[in-house]
Structures are given as structure tokens and as C-alpha cells.
Subunit: 246 residues, 2 copies
């Protein structure tokens, strides 16, 4: 499985992804699921992937090959597309193309096995930062004020804290704390989501990558958050009045 | 869908279930999913159901018919079985029998469509209170100190708070608060889980039903818990130090 979250804040975009892949519980590996493209001063693009690893790696490889400026191409690459909307179309088409080619002639049923979902976010000069969720069919939806974040993979355990504590005005520091709590709840409940985590903080109108970090098992802040949250939650629980049996 | 939780405390057993059933999102109904049998001074048994409604209703009807003392029967009924373990075996066999009869000759694939899971708890004189999770195959596992609660149905959204705030020493008042928070997280995230809720608090060595309540939409305490928890959680979130970007 996988867990990735993309968060839209007023000050920018925050991305976090785990790195565990598994084929059964007895075969786990570490693979990066966050990928970036940049043309400094003009655009920063981040992609996170969930689903069939062969599919998502092929999508990233194709996007990379087609992004080479030297290459003779007919279609524009994600480093040339004029807007984030056009970048999302390009990525969606690439995803659909890869799934269709993996499934071959085996028909729509086979496509399920090769399926994948993506979160895409970034900013291209001339537009605002935008965040998209891209489906295996190649179509996509955009984050809005009502739904300011997207999750892919094992989304359920980590959702309640996101829903309750998210605030569009929050700082990057608080957003990282929030995402770490959401990941910690998920990692504690689902073996197929695991450390290390990758993160990227994109700041609006910088048009280049922001802070990028890998959070390893021994990351002091993550460990502190993970162990303190249980106590903080218990204290919050105690502040609410108990049910009366009368 | 459904959400039911059975909790094993030192002072007894706590059961809570929702009442929403759905066939698609455009066809929802209210059905009770918590059932009780009692022989006062001797045993109290509670059953909660998730899965195919025709299956679970048939199981409960069969258990009721067979519990009639006047009836001539070869096998012991759940009001006569000598221990909670034997009650669980009886309920498990009934579940397997119903699923097999619903699926008829259509083979194992059809059984998936008629599948159901159960949480069974209670106490029979001569034994301790016991809590079981019963699978569609008719077999079952028992709650232990390591795993003191069972969930069936939509289990993921409501699990993190259970894991963090559960304490075997907690009072019934706190246990109801905890379960309401777990249900509230689930109801806020999954439309197919809904109010009203049924609950039952069984106190160890009373050998009769304890407090049983139905929590309706306008239940003042539930509404207070639901609206206060967001604030309490935000405050808990603020007490943890923020991530440092340096």
C-alpha cells in the first residue's frame, strides 16, 4: 500500500509520501513515491504516486524522457506546458497510456491490476499554485477551498486528524506537524505504510522547489510527535465531560 | 455499511452499534444491529451484526426461534449453552448455516455476497465476561489484554482514537465518551454509517442486561461531544511543538 497527502495552504503547497511498497506482507521494499520537476524561476511541479509500482515508475520515466529539452518531440512536455491545468492533462494522458499498454489486449478487467492514482501539485508562472488528484482514467479533479487536500493509498486512518486540525492559514511548521500526525496514525494501523517519509514544502510565487526532506526512522522530531500525541490526545479526551449514566 | 464496537473493560463490556443500512447511497434505511438475550441472574448475551442484512436477520431469527424454551430441540440454545465459548460456537454455526443456505448451489463465490461478521459478548454464570469476533466461516477469536476491543464494518476512521485513549480501567462513563468519539469520526467520514446509535453497558457479575440506550440525532451529550472534540483536538495539536524548518 501507500499513503500520500497533498495539502493546499494559503502560503503554498505541502506534500508528504511514505516509501513502502509491498507484494503481500512478506515482501516489502522501499521506493520513492514523490517526484519533482523544476525550471527555476518559472515552475515547480511535484507528483506523488499510489498503485501498481510498474505503472507509476513507467509514468515517471515517460514524463522524464519527454521532459528532455534536447529531444525532438511533437507534444509539449511538463516543463513546457503553459499552465498547471495543461501539466495535469499531460500527466493524466501519460497515466492512461501506460495503464492501457500494460493491460494490452486483456481488456478492461486487466486494467484494474495495473491501476494507479496520482497527486499533482505546483505552480507555473502566470498562474496560482494548484493541486490535482489524477485518476487511472486520466481525468482529474482540483483541490478547492471546500476540499483543500487530497490523499491517496491508505487514506482512512489519517483522515480524521486532517479534517479536524487543518487550517488554510496554518504555517509550514504546523502543516508538517499535522501531516506527521496523520502519517503516524496510519503507520501505527497499517503495516503496508512505512517510514522513511519524503516531504516537500512549496512556497507560493517562488517558482522553485522549497524545503525537501527525508524523514528516517530515527528522526528526533517525528519520534517525539509520535510518542507525545498519545498523551496529548488522552488529555484532550479528559477535558471533555463524561457521559452521565443517569 | 455499518460500524459496531465491542469493548472489554475490567468492570464489564461495552457495546455500541449504528443503525444505517444501505444499498447504494440512494437507498438507506434504519435497522437495529444490536440484539440481546438474557436469562436473569444467569446470563446476559449481546450480539452485533455487520454485512448482508438478510443474512444477519436470518441468524438472529434462527437464534430466537431456537431459544424458545417450549420448543422441542435436539441441540442446546444460546440460553442453555453452558459457557460463552459454547454460545459463540452455536452462533458461529448458525451464521455459517445461513450463509451456506443463502448461497445455495452457487458455490463459494456466491457466499461472499451473503457474508456477514458478528461481535458477540456477554457472561454466563460460572465464567468471566467474554468478547468474541465471529467470522463468516463460523469460526471466531476472543478479545484479550493485547486486543481488548473488536470493530466490524467501517473500522478505520474510528480506530486511532480507540487505540490511543482506551484504558482497561476506564469507567463506563468514559467508555461511552470514547465510543461516541470513535463513532463521530466515522459518521463524519462515511455516509453509510449513521445515527441513531444503540448501546449496552454490561457490568461484570450482574448476569443481567445493564444500561441500554438509543442515541438519537438530537441527543444533547452526543452533539456536545461531536462539536467540542474538534476544539479539544486543535488545542492538543497546539500543545505539541511545531516542526523547525531549519
Amino acid at each position: 500500500m501507500t499513503y500520500c497527502v497533498g495539502l493546499r495552504l494559503n502560503r503554498g503547497l505541502v506534500f508528504m509520501s511514505d516509501t513502502r511498497t509491498n507484494a503481500g506482507v512478506d515482501n516489502i521494499s522501499v521506493f520513492k513515491k514523490m517526484f519533482q520537476w523544476e525550471s527555476e524561476g518559472e515552475r515547480s511541479i511535484t507528483l506523488m504516486t499510489a498503485g501498481n509500482l510498474a505503472t507509476t515508475q513507467a509514468v515517471v520515466s515517460l514524463l522524464n524522457e519527454r521532459a528532455k529539452p534536447a529531444e525532438e518531440r511533437g507534444a509539449p512536455s511538463i516543463l513546457e506546458a503553459p499552465s498547471m491545468f495543461q501539466v495535469a492533462r499531460l500527466v493524466g494522458e501519460t497515466l492512461r497510456e501506460v495503464i492501457a499498454s500494460q493491460a494490452g489486449d486483456s481488456g478492461p478487467d486487466a486494467e484494474g491490476a495495473f491501476s494507479a492514482s496520482l497527486i499533482l501539485g505546483g505552480q507555473v508562472r502566470g498562474g496560482d499554485p494548484r493541486l490535482f488528484m489524477i485518476y487511472p482514467e486520466g481525468n482529474f479533479v482540483e483541490a478547492s477551498d471546500d476540499t483543500p487536500f487530497f490523499q491517496i493509498g491508505e487514506t482512512k486512518y489519517g483522515k480524521p486528524i486532517l479534517v479536524r486540525a487543518y487550517d488554510p492559514e496554518m504555517s509550514f511548521e504546523d502543516a508538517v506537524k499535522l501531516l506527521m500526525l496523520s502519517f503516524d496514525s496510519t503507520i501505527k494501523a497499517n503495516l503496508s505504510v512505512g517510514l522513511p517519509l519524503d516531504m516537500h514544502l512549496y512556497e507560493t510565487d517562488t517558482f522553485r522547489h522549497g524545503l525537501r526532506r527525508r524523514i528516517e526512522q530515527d528522526h528526533a522530531y517525528y519520534q517525539m510527535i509520535s510518542s507525545s500525541w498519545g498523551e496529548a490526545l488522552k488529555e484532550a479526551f479528559q477535558t471533555l465531560p463524561s457521559y452521565s449514566l443517569d
